[in-house]
Symmetry: none
Subunit: 222 residues, 2 copies
Amino acid sequence: MTTVLIADDQPMQRFGFRMLLESQDDMTVVGEAANGTEAVRQVAAHHPDVVLMDIRMPGLDGIEATRRIIAAGARTRVLIITTFDLDEYAYDGLRAGASGFLVKDAQPEELLAGVRAVAAGDAVVAPSLTRRLLDTYIHHLPPTPRAAPAPEDPRLTSLTDREREILTVIGQGWTNTEIAERLHLAESTVKTHVGRVLAKTGTRDRIQAVILAYDTGLVKPA
Amino acid sequence: MTTVLIADDQPMQRFGFRMLLESQDDMTVVGEAANGTEAVRQVAAHHPDVVLMDIRMPGLDGIEATRRIIAAGARTRVLIITTFDLDEYAYDGLRAGASGFLVKDAQPEELLAGVRAVAAGDAVVAPSLTRRLLDTYIHHLPPTPRAAPAPEDPRLTSLTDREREILTVIGQGWTNTEIAERLHLAESTVKTHVGRVLAKTGTRDRIQAVILAYDTGLVKPA
DNA sequence: GGCGGTGTCGTACCGGGGTACCACGCACGG
DNA sequence: CCGTGCGTGGTACCCCGGTACGACACCGCC
């Protein structure tokens, strides 16, 4: 039987978690806390297997509570649950010793799987954060023998010279009107070119085209 | 509709994956490959959204195939699936550019959720590996950007934390609607934030903001 | 207590961006 | 000589982005 403590400042949120967890016959909720201080106290009292920990709570927040729980050396695993998948405290939560990080809009099954995973000593991270985690850290690791200077990005090969020129100025932030003026074209012509560039590169709008221009090196940061 | 390519040297394994994926009405299998070379070729031919990539295959293995697919610059995401959750090649796979790493004994639902996550641009890592990943790396990593030891660009100093967050996602090409959804805000709120970011940074539209995000290093090229 | 900063949400308006569809001239190669 | 790709141009339409107003709640600080 996996024992769980719920730490969240919203009563309805706690209720929802409790209902979900209690519906499983291998889990039981041994306590609730509405702030970090209370969470730390409850962990010391009940030694749950897992704490569902919200980040934003009045007083002591979830991060600091996690840090104290881990520092206390308990066997308790902390699974951070937050509404904000871009919360920059996510890293801090994991560094504080949390075993996982999930967002509240996850499917109930995902949450349950997450609880079971951390209870078993594994760790879980929401896909949206995993992506950033990998992007941020993986590449700092030992040399990736990435060969080949790559002469031209394949996403650009289908473009004609004119279209590549258009993409370049799009990447420099020019509006259609500016492109028309500076390249001595009609605005309708510019629109035609831009439309074809977007179609060929598979980008949905000029914003994505700007990003593509930077990512492919067609335009370089100042 | 998410298009998937299956790369595995075991025919029965491919069959199982195909049955599972085809049972979903938002997925379709566009090809199969029994080795790395074939996988690279099939990706070039079909440009699938996702490749289910086994590591151990005769000839070109899954890691090297992943490296080549990513190096080719395709939009295709690679999701590595292996029997061995302790396979030390896992890191190499992620470093090679894979968007995820799952083990074959995962529940079918987990696999499907993983495919959908990577198709959406997110990333997934099996809980058993996530634990090792965090243990290995998180604790000795550079501080979060929020700590910002790096001298901040003066054009960004006037921004609040929230506004800087908004600028970051603008730089990643998100539309106002997407920002609202993923950050759980009303679109009107997003517009307010965006408007203030543009005013404070002196940029005329989000295009210029994207460029600023790249130029200041707030967003880095892929 | 009051006051400013921040974050949130709303309505209304307008212009530019993007698409769809079509058209014409030119250069090139089968 | 005619098809095809490319560059150029036009019209009509719709939607998103950006602005201009508001409004309210929370919080820290004077």
